[in-house]
């Protein structure tokens, strides 16, 4: 069983790493989610794997290590907070600039999703893109 868990952790890590190396914010966010899974599972695995020994005190029972579980529990919730914040940051960046690239040197060549906006706010848009 250990080999399955270890390989799963490795694969989730690899997927996460590959996705954060992409040049767009959404894959990076998905990649961070994968990395959170991998890191949480890794931390959890540090307590070694046991079956049917939950850390609930019952007379005469053996237990698994509760400490990694407690740490991972907070980590899961915190990683939600982090993901939510990054999602919103990415969204705000896209709304401001019209591009969701994570590469500033290419951001000037943005706006490929939507035809360039015309009219009164075209200048403001370009200003926003330059600011990014």
């Amino acid at each position: 069983m250990e080999i399955l868990v270890a390989s799963a952790i490795g694969l989730m890590t690899a997927t996460g790493l590959f996705l954060i190396l992409q040049g767009r914010s959404f894959p990076v966010i998905v990649g961070l989610t994968f990395l959170s899974y991998a890191v949480n599972a890794f931390l959890f695995a540090m307590g070694r794997l046991t079956v049917d020994l939950p850390p609930i005190i019952t007379p005469g029972a053996a237990y698994t290590d509760p400490l990694p579980q407690a740490l991972v529990l907070t980590a899961i919730v915190i990683s939600f907070g982090m993901t939510a914040l990054i999602v919103v940051l990415g969204l705000r960046g896209f709304l401001e600039t019209g591009s969701d690239r994570t590469d500033l040197s290419l951001a000037d060549a943005a706006e490929e999703h939507v035809p360039a906006p015309e009219g009164e706010d075209a200048g403001r848009e370009r200003g926003g893109a330059a600011r990014a």
């Binding site: 069983m1 250990e2 080999i3 399955l4 390989s7 799963a8 952790i9 490795g10 694969l11 989730m12 890590t13 690899a14 997927t15 996460g16 790493l17 590959f18 996705l19 954060i20 190396l21 992409q22 767009r24 894959p27 998905v30 994968f34 890794f42 959890f44 695995a45 540090m46 307590g47 070694r48 794997l49 046991t50 079956v51 850390p55 609930i56 005190i57 698994t64 290590d65 509760p66 579980q69 991972v72 529990l73 899961i76 990683s79 939600f80 907070g81 914040l85 919103v88 990415g90 969204l91 896209f94 709304l95 994570t102 590469d103 500033l104 040197s105 999703h113 939507v114 403001r124 848009e125």
Partner: protein, 951 residues
């Protein structure tokens, strides 16, 4: 004790003028003068001991590990310099009181001046090379402040920057040199180093140490080719120029050469480097001075020239030359300070320092003119003035110096230097003070108040006294100082006016005759000179510094190119390299822990995870698919937690996954639905390889740990959970009790994240963004915006879900559950209402404010922690008890439950706030009309529509 106070007094006293300026300029100047006077008094109190041949030392360990100590030493050389710094300092303080304009911030000026004075005294009195370095850098910094005192002038700022860069750069070299020196000598105490001269000169590190120390000294003392900063430092107020850039700071480099003379001088390398640098500086400085039209600039280059003269004398390495050097330091300080102050008076009274606009001032300001011309005569080396004596000694030494077999080089160039010196002195005196009176001065020149000319007069006294009676007036001081420089018996010499018909006298006569001719032909030489290209040091310096700035910019642009992927690649590569290194140096024996058997369900789940991961990697450009696959992986992870005895984690993972997926769906609604290919195929393979190696490393590490047994502190928690924390769910007890502080901090972080999300997203998008986002919306939508089945089911579920939440919350202390999980369940139930009935419908009916919930949650958790203080216990100490009620029976109440309530409220608030804010933006974007009251039964009084207060 007294010795420590001498440098510390001005450093501490610098606060006085800064404070007392409110009481007026006179009080401010007097306080400054008093501080200097006190330091001078302390110094003079040591004079009897020093003149008796004693070396006064004090020492206090500062950082003994690096042999840094507060040790000071007062010998002849230190005394000589300290006295010069303090006496000229006093005169300059007096002069500056009248020189500075009413608009100038005088308090700041005097504060800087005292700081400089203290730093300079520290340099000349230090007995520890590291301490000396500290003071050395302080003089550079205070000099920067003083040069840039008129900060509104671009010239002052440029000059200050240039001085700081040159002397600061030299200071860096000096640090290396002095550390090497201390290393060779085996001690960082200067008195020890001086005693080990032979050891130092024999060391293979002697030459590098020497070169580095000379770099420091040459930059500070403006030796060629670093002489260019000094004239630009003349942008400082004249008292500063007189004090720092003629009498004291620029002599710090020369002081260092003299101080280390016993340890470093006398070798071939010393002579071959120091002497020609000094000679070249002397000639070049004097040459340039002849063509300067600004009085201060002329004096600046003349200072460069004289500093070169002193450096050359020290570089000759003979004892007689060292005596001459000491004597000239004294003489130069007196006449040059007097000249700078006179130039300042001319500038102040006539309104210009340009020699082309001056002349004939002798009749208009007779006192100043007389004093300045006396000083000029000394500078030119006219007999009966002190400058003559030391110049003769210099020429005498140069006359029998042979450089690398060339016997004529030093005598001829020294004579040329003297000749040029005579010429610029004539130019300074005659063009300023003699000649016809003009009528076009910017101001009406007249003699200044006594306070301004008195310092000059006081400086002229020694100029003449030494010139007439050298042995009687300066003999003892020169002997004392020279003795300290040489560090041994003095050579046979006597200071006198007449030495007979010596080679030096012949050279002097030649210099006077040649100088007169040069002065008369100056205009023609100048015209001729302009035909040749002249290297402009300032332009070269600017070009060099611009090139450095440009190179730094390019480097920054190259390594910091704004691409997240590039940074992450670099970070990842470094981490992988570190990991490989660590793994290579670790034992690789196989683990011995017994493995769990593989079960079929586990294998199926594993396969599903592998497929989901690989599919995500390959098809991530379809963002919706990637999102679905992500939640599949999350579910499998949750199943893993169930399998491996972690029910709490499984519950948390499932509910967080639901919330995260909803959140990302809401965001994706406003984002492009696909990711275009960003990188080429080889780049993707490279990224894949990096990711693969990283994954392999983490997986291998996890496997290595899981196949080995280890020790854990778990036993403590398992044993204490029930008796200490009053709960049987150890994970929950750890969260709310043992590690409650962590959890408290965590909910605060969550709260901050939610508030940041709220602040970052303004639902009213600007027009451009709105148009862009609308273009991304799907063209065909489902016919039913709010499917009735979903609406009904969600509303029926809400009370049930809330009941489940309460149940999970209450049992959390003893069974799987707790505040986190209950909060997530309730948040999901609330979210479901938003999904089913639309944002506006829920917002109209919501009674609880999410932000208030977050605040209340953190507040309750914090107050629970603080409550422990009331019982004299540390923050967050928990307590519990058992209570019996009729019907309910005996039950337990723990303070941790209250803390968990705080966690619960915060989690609900955070989740609802962030998701609702996103859906609010979506609502704003969606052009389709929202039914006012989806699936509502008509109530007696329908709630009046109002704009929702918050998400």
């Amino acid at each position: 004790m007294v010795l420590w106070l001498i440098p510390l007094l001005p450093l501490i006293g610098a606060i006085l003028p800064a404070l007392l300026i409110r009481s007026g300029r006179d009080v401010c100047a007097s306080a400054t003068g008093f501080v200097s006077l006190a330091a001078l008094g302390l110094l003079l109190s040591q004079a009897p001991a020093v003149f008796a041949g004693e070396v006064v030392r004090v020492s206090l360990p500062w950082v003994p590990q690096i042999q840094l100590s507060f040790s000071f030493m007062l010998d002849g050389l230190g005394f000589f310099f300290a006295a010069m710094i303090l006496i000229i300092g006093l005169l300059v303080i007096l002069y500056a009181r009248f020189y500075l304009d009413r608009a100038d911030p005088m308090g700041r000026f005097y504060a800087y001046l005292l700081l400089f004075q203290g730093a300079m005294l520290g340099v000349v009195l230090s007995n520890n090379v590291i301490l000396l370095l500290v003071f050395w850098e302080l003089t550079s910094l205070t000099s920067f402040l003083l040069i840039g005192f008129w900060r509104h002038l671009a010239e002052a700022r440029q000059g200050a920057r240039m001085a700081l860069i040159v002397t600061g750069g030299g200071g860096l070299a000096l640090i290396g040199g002095l550390l090497l020196l201390g290393n060779i000598a085996g001690s960082y105490e200067i008195s020890e180093i001086l005693a080990r001269g032979d050891l130092i000169k024999a060391s293979p590190l002697y030459l590098p140490a020497l070169v580095l120390i000379l770099l420091g000294a040459f930059t500070k003392s403006a030796q060629f080719p670093f002489h260019f900063w000094l004239p630009h430092a003349m942008a400082a107020p004249t008292p500063v120029s007189a004090y720092l850039h003629s009498a004291t700071m620029v002599k710090a480099g020369i002081f260092l050469l003299a101080r280390l003379w016993p340890a470093l001088a006398g070798t071939e390398a010393w002579f071959l480097i120091v002497a020609p640098v000094g000679l070249a500086t002397m000639v070049i400085g004097a040459w340039i001075a002849n063509f300067r039209t600004d009085l201060k600039s002329l004096l600046a280059f003349s200072t460069v020239s004289h500093l070169g003269l002193i450096t050359m004398l020290l570089g000759l390495g003979t004892k007689m030359a060292a005596v001459a050097a000491v004597f000239h330091i004294l003489n130069h300080a007196t006449f040059k300070a007097a000249l700078f102050l006179s130039a300042g008076i001319v500038d102040h009274e006539a309104g210009t320092r340009d020699v082309r606009r001056l002349g004939g001032l002798a009749g208009l300001m007779p006192i100043t003119a007389t004093l300045a011309m006396l000083a000029t005569a000394s500078m030119a080396g006219v007999p009966l003035f002190n400058g003559f004596l030391s110049k003769e000694m210099m020429l005498e030494e140069a006359a029998h110096t042979s450089y690398a077999g060339i016997t004529w080089l030093f005598p001829v160039l020294a004579t040329v230097g003297a000749l040029l010196s005579v010429a610029y002195c004539a130019r300074f005196a005659i063009r300023t003070f003699l000649g016809p009176v003009r009528h076009d001065y910017p101001h009406h020149p007249h003699d200044p108040p006594v306070g301004m000319w008195l310092p000059v007069a006081l400086l002229i006294v020694p100029v003449i006294a030494i010139g007439l009676f050298p042995g009687a007036v300066a003999g003892a001081l020169v002997a004392l100082t020279a003795g300290a420089v040489i560090g041994g018996p003095l050579p046979d010499y006597y200071l006198a006016l007449w030495h007979g018909l010596t080679p030096a006298l012949v050279m002097s006569v030649l210099a006077f005759a040649g100088g007169a001719v040069f002065f008369l032909t100056q205009a023609r030489v100048d015209a001729l000179r302009r035909h040749f290209p002249r290297p402009e040091a300032r332009d070269m310096f600017e070009a060099a510094s611009n090139a450095v700035v440009l190179a730094a910019r390019r480097l920054t642009a190259w390594v910091h190119d704004g691409s997240l992927a590039f940074y992450l690649r670099v970070i990842l590569a470094v981490l992988i390299a570190a990991g490989i290194f660590a793994m290579a140096s670790a034992p690789h024996a196989a683990g011995t822990r017994a493995m769990l058997p593989v079960t079929l369900p586990a294998l199926v789940a594993w396969l599903a995870l592998v497929v989901a991961c690989l599919a995500t990697m390959m098809r991530h450009s379809d963002r919706l698919l990637a999102l679905i696959l992500t939640s599949v992986v999350g579910l499998i992870v949750a199943l893993g937690f169930v399998q491996f005895s972690a029910p709490d984690l499984a519950l948390t993972q499932v509910s967080v996954d639901v919330v995260t997926t909803i959140l990302m769906l809401l965001a994706l609604n406003l984002l492009p639905k696909t990711s275009p290919r960003e990188f080429s195929l080889p780049a993707r393979w490279r990224d894949g390889a990096l990711a693969g190696i990283g994954g392999l490393g983490i997986g291998g590490l996890a496997y290595a740990v899981m196949t080995r047994d280890g020790t854990s502190i778990a036993d403590y928690f398992l044993a204490q959970s029930k008796p200490g924390g009053g709960g049987t769910n150890v994970v929950n007890v750890i969260l709310v009790d043992f590690r409650g502080y962590d959890t408290f901090a965590e909910i605060i972080v969550l709260g901050i994240a939610a508030v940041a999300i709220f602040a970052l997203l303004d639902p009213k998008l600007p027009a451009g963004a709105l148009r862009r986002v609308r273009a991304l919306q799907p063209k065909v939508e489902s016919g039913d915006v709010h499917p009735p089945m979903l609406v009904v089911a969600a509303r029926a579920m809400l009370p049930l879900a809330l009941a489940v939440g309460v149940f999970i919350f209450l049992r959390g202390h003893n069974q799987p559950g707790g505040g986190f999980i209950a909060g997530l369940v309730v948040a999901i139930a609330l979210m479901l209402q938003y999904i089913a009935s639309g944002y506006r419908w829920v917002a109209d009916r919501k009674r609880l404010d999410s932000q208030a919930m977050i605040g209340a949650g953190i507040g309750i958790a914090g107050l629970t922690g603080i409550a422990a203080w009331a019982f004299g216990l540390p923050f967050l100490t928990s307590n519990f008890g058992y209570f019996t009620l009729p019907v309910v029976g005996t039950f337990e109440l723990a303070s941790a439950l209250l803390f968990d309530l705080g966690v619960f409220l915060t989690v609900v608030g955070v989740m609802v706030l962030s998701l609702a804010q996103l859906s609010r933006v979506g609502q704003h974007v969606d052009p389709l009309p929202t039914p006012e009251q989806p699936m509502d039964l008509p109530l007696a009084a329908p709630p009046p529509y109002h704009q929702p207060r918050e998400a």
